[in-house]
Structures are given as C-alpha cells and as structure tokens.
C-alpha cells in the first residue's frame, strides 16, 4: 500500500516535469549515449514531425537537420568540447546548445539538446551590420568631400535617399556651396573693383591726384582680396582656422570700406576746389564783361565826338560861304571894300584851317574806333575762352562726382563681403553641431551592440538552466523506473 502511494507520487512528479518541458516553447530533447531519443518535448514533436511515442528509442539523426551525421552534429561538437552548434532548416536558423546527462553517480548517460530559433536575432545582427556599413560609407563620403575641401576643391557630398547622415550631408553641402559662393563673390568683387578703377583712370588728367588716390586704394583692395582668398583656402584646410580667417576678412573689408570712404571724402574736397575755381573764373568773366561795357561806353562817346566834329565841319563850310559873300560885297564896294576883302580872305583861310582840323580829328576817331572794335573782339574771345574753361572745370567736377560714386560703390560691395563673412561663420558653427550629432549616433550604435551582447548572454544562461532542469527530470525518471521494477505488474 505504501509502495503504491509512492509510485503515484512519482508518476505525478514525472507528469509535472513532462508538462513543464512541454510548456517550453522551443525544442528540448534528450538521447542516450548511443544517440537514441529518451525524451522529446511538444515543441520537438512539432519540429521533427514525430510523436513522442514514435520517436522514443529512435536515432536522433531522424531530425534530418543539415548538421545530422556531420562533424557539426551537436553531440559531435560536444564531444570536441564545443557545447554550441547551428543549423538551418526550412529557411530558419537555429542554435543548438548541447549538454551531457548524468545519472546519480555522475556517470554520462546521454545528451540534452536545446534548440533555439535564432533567425530573428541574426536578422537583427545583419540589419545592425548593414546599418553600420552604411554609416561608415556615409562618413567616408563626408571625409572625402572635406579632404577635397582641404585641397581647395569644392566637391559636393553624394547623398542617397536612405542616407543615415542625410541632414548632416545636406548641411555640409550647404556649407561647401556657401564657401564656394563666398570665394566666387570675392573674386568677382576684385574683378568689379578692377574694372571700376579702369573707368576712373580714364577720367580727366586734371584730377590725376584723385585718380592716383583711387588707384593706390584699389591696389590695396586687390592685395587685401588676394590675402582674403589665400586665407580662405587656408580656412578650408582646417575648419577651426576658418572662423578666425573669416574675422580677418571681415576686418579687412571694413578697413577697405573706410578707405573707400576716404577716397570719397577726397573726391568731395576736390569738388570744392573745382567749385572755387569755377567761381574765380566766373568773377574774371564778369570783369571782362565790364571791360566790354566800358569799351562800348567809350565808342558811344567817340560817336558823340564825331557829331561835334561834323558840326565843326558844318560851321567851317558856313564860315567859308560867309567869307565868300563878304568878298562879293567888298568887290561891289570897290576901292572902299578893299580892307574888308582882306578880312574876308582871312576868315576864309580860318574856315579852311578849322575844316582841315575837323577832318584830322574825324580820321583819328575813325582809327580809334577801329582799334576799339579790335579790343572788343579780343575781349570777347577771352570771355569765350573763360566760358570754355568753366566748361572744362565742370567736366572735372563731373569726373570728381564719378570718383565719389565709384568709391561709394566699392565701399558698399565691401560691406556686403563683411556680411557674407558673418553668415559663413554661422554655417560653420552648424557643421560643428552636425559633427557632434554623428558622434552621438555612433555612441547609440555601440550601445545597441552592447544590448545585443547582453541579450545573447541571457539566452545562454537560460539554456544552462534548462539543461540542469532536464538532468533533474532524468534523474527522477530513472528513480521512478527503478521503483516500478520492484513491482510485478
């Protein structure tokens, strides 16, 4: 009666252990030392397509895995000291953990195989590897472009739609483009300054002083621009140095801008001088106009003298006539008129003298009038020359204004360069931020790998636990078997 109770208890225990093993969702199977199945759980039945009753006592190569009957067979591996092997079946990957089974006297009585489907895990690893490779390729792309940049070549970073560093690359390309734009705009600025200068140099030689100032300033501009370009190329070699170089560019542009303003100031001064000269000439013209007026006055006076002379001539001719009539009267008076006739002759000769004098005065006045008109002509010519001079001085004024305008233009362009440089600084800061982003991503990748390793360790640990449970089950089964032998049934 006691013994029967003990059997029932053992049977219950076996049933419990069997149901525990059946509850495990992956295949667990045990064989004896000659590799014939002692036990398979439900998951194993499903995997090999045999029921427990059909499988018991049959050779485990009936599993028909691709490692069965090869040196990679789990038991062969264990015999070589390797407790883990892998096989593939129906497209899935499996990991096999093998352990020895011992009896109560620590004698090897068989093997335990725990099979785990590792397809998911491997897919995960594969995906991680793929991602890692893509990340490396992407970093190589970036590295190449920056290396090119350091050699002074603007090569865009190639971007694919699934690029892990899409944002970073886009920012890098933006930086490269704006660097390129900056260099191009600096070169264009230098060119436009050079052309402006040639315009200025063709201006009137009268403003040679102002032109020389512009030319020397432009020499400075060119020099400064070369320095900027060189410093930009250096900037590309070392991203860190870029910021300071850009500061230099900004400072240089500002100082140039100030110099251009100086040129503009000088131009304004020369404009003032030109205006003064213009006023002086205008005054000289006024004076010469006054001269013309005075000469005209003089010639009017001459013509009034002429009138007087004509009057004198008239009087002389009247006197002449009078003397003739006196002579006629004297003739009529005969002897008595003789003395009177002498007076009449004297009067006649006086009249002739005054007529002659008047004629002389008249010819003198004619001469003076001719000379005066010559003087007026030459003064008119001088006046015209002065008008021409005023015109030329106006030209100088226009040229000066042009110089001022050109200088202002140069100054504006340089201000733009300074603004562009400031923008560039901001872009470079963004590149630095993106680099920090890459670093963080790489750290995240490493962390994921660590987690994977931890997961694998956990699986391994649980497998060992299962093995020890199985060996206990086996022990119990054995003792149950021994007990039942004692009964005759």
């Amino acid at each position: 009666m006691e013994e029967k109770d003990e059997v029932i208890i053992l049977k219950n225990k076996v049933a419990l252990l069997e149901s525990i093993l059946d509850a495990i969702p992956f295949p667990v199977s045990a064989t004896d030392i000659s590799r014939n199945w002692l036990f398979i759980n439900k998951a194993t039945e499903k995997s090999i397509g045999l029921s427990r009753e059909e499988a018991l006592g049959k050779n485990c190569s009936l599993w028909n895995a691709n490692i069965c009957n090869t040196k990679d067979c789990g038991i062969n591996c264990l015999e070589r000291g390797d407790s883990v092997t892998y096989f593939s079946q129906e497209g899935e990957d499996y990991k096999v953990d093998i352990a020895y089974l011992y009896d109560s006297s620590r004698k090897k009585i068989g093997y335990l195989e725990v099979v785990a489907n590792v397809s998911e895990l491997q897919r995960l690893i594969k995906a991680v590897n793929e991602k890692q490779n893509k990340l490396q390729d992407s970093i190589k792309d970036l590295d190449h472009s920056f290396k090119m940049l350091s050699e002074g070549r603007f090569v865009s970073v190639p971007i694919s739609s699934d690029d892990p560093l899409l944002g970073l690359k886009e920012n890098a390309n933006e930086s490269i483009d704006s660097l390129k734009e900056l260099v191009v705009s600096l070169k264009e600025t230098a060119k436009s300054i050079a052309s402006s200068v040639s315009d200025i140099s063709t201006s009137s030689s009268d403003i040679a002083k102002a032109t020389q100032q512009v030319a020397s300033t432009v020499g400075l501009v060119n020099g400064q621009n070369q320095a900027e370009i060189t410093s930009l190329e250096k900037t590309i070699k070392a991203l860190d140095a870029v910021s300071s170089s850009i500061s230099q560019v900004t400072a240089g542009a500002k100082s140039l801008s100030e110099k251009a303003v100086n040129v503009s100031e000088n131009g304004k001064t020369s404009l003032v001088v030109v205006n003064e000269t213009e006023k002086s000439i205008a005054r000289a013209k006024d004076i010469s106009d006054t001269n013309v007026g005075q000469i005209k006055d003089l010639s009017e006076k001459m013509s009034s003298i002429n009138k007087i002379v004509r009057l004198i001539t008239e009087i002389a001719s009247q006197t002449n006539l009078l003397s003739l009539n006196a002579a006629i009267e004297a003739a009529r008076a005969g002897e008595y008129g003789r003395g009177f006739a002498v007076v009449a002759a004297e009067v006649k000769s006086l009249a002739n003298d005054s007529k002659k004098s008047a004629e002389e005065i008249s010819s003198s006045i004619e001469e003076i009038t001719a000379k005066t008109s010559l003087a007026v002509t030459s003064i008119m010519e001088t006046s015209k020359d002065m008008a021409d001079a005023v015109g030329r001085i106006n030209d100088v004024g226009v040229a000066s204004k042009k110089v001022i305008n050109e200088a202002t233009e140069v100054s504006d362009t340089l201000k733009q360069v300074a603004e562009e440089s400031d923008k560039q600084s901001a872009t470079l800061q963004k590149v630095n931020q993106d680099f920090t982003g890459v670093l963080e991503m790489l750290e995240k990748g490493l962390k994921a790998m660590d987690e994977l390793a931890a997961l694998a360790e956990e699986v391994s640990a649980s497998t060992e636990e299962i093995a020890s449970i199985i060996s206990e089950v086996d022990k119990m089964g054995k003792s149950l078997f021994t007990m039942t032998e004692r009964f005759e049934v």
Partner: protein, 140 residues
C-alpha cells in the same frame, strides 16, 4: 582891273563877273514846277523872295556825277531887278584878275561856250563866261 567869282562845274573851272553876283548860298531844297525849260531846275524861297534856279551843267549838256553838296549863286540882272539862281558844283573864291593873266578865246569856242576869255591860274585854266548872254538864252 576886274574881280571874278571862280566856281567848278563837272568838266572844269569857270568864272563870272562878280558884279552880277548878289550872294552865294549853300544848297537848299529846290521845288520843281511844270512845263519848265531844259536847263531850269525849279524854284526856291530865299528869305521870302521866290527865285527861279537853273543848272549851268544842264545848260552845257554836262553829265554830273559829283555827289558832294552844291552851291547856288544868286545873280541879279543889270537891266532890271529880277534875280536868278544858278546851280554850280562848288564856289571857290572871289579874285582880282589882271589883264596880263587872260587871253582871248578863239571865235568858234566863244560861240558855243558863251566864253569871253581864258584865265590862266596856278590851279589851271578858268573860262570866263558871259553870264548875261547865258541867262538871256535860258529865260528868253
């Protein structure tokens, strides 16, 4: 001894007896009148007295291109108190003429010029004309 008035016409110097001369005036505007004889120019108003003026150049058929101011010699007839004006180019002088200074004019010349004698002066030859015959011829 005679005294003559010497004057100029377009072709030379002429003289008349000063006894026929009332006075010499400068040129004044001459008013023309209808139906006049060839030599008559017109009439002038001399201090309220109307005087008929004739041109000696026209009387001699001389072409006058001299534009300078002319003189009018006022003559008075020896017979009556009637007066005439004679237009000449320019009156020069009243002179005494001595007998040894003049020569007789040839007959054929005398008839066509109404000249009496030729006076030889330092300024050249002067024809002394018979002004009484001329005025008779002009106003007959």
């Amino acid at each position: 001894m005679d005294e003559v008035l010497i004057f100029r016409l377009p072709n030379g110097l002429y003289a008349i007896d000063v006894a026929h001369v009332k006075e010499v005036i400068s040129y004044t505007k001459i008013n023309s009148v209808p139906n006049m004889k060839k030599s008559v120019v017109g009439i002038i108003d001399l201090r309220g007295e109307i005087i008929t003026v004739f041109s000696l150049s026209r009387f001699y058929d001389l072409i006058d291109q001299d534009k300078s101011e002319k003189n009018i010699v006022i003559l008075h007839s020896s017979v009556d108190s009637e007066r005439f004006g004679m237009l000449v180019n320019q009156v020069y002088v009243v002179r005494e003429i001595k007998e040894k200074e003049f020569e007789k004019l040839p007959d054929f010349l005398s008839s066509c010029t109404y000249g009496k004698v030729i006076i030889k002066t330092a300024k050249g030859i002067v024809i002394w004309i018979d002004i009484v015959s001329i005025t008779e011829e002009v106003f007959k």
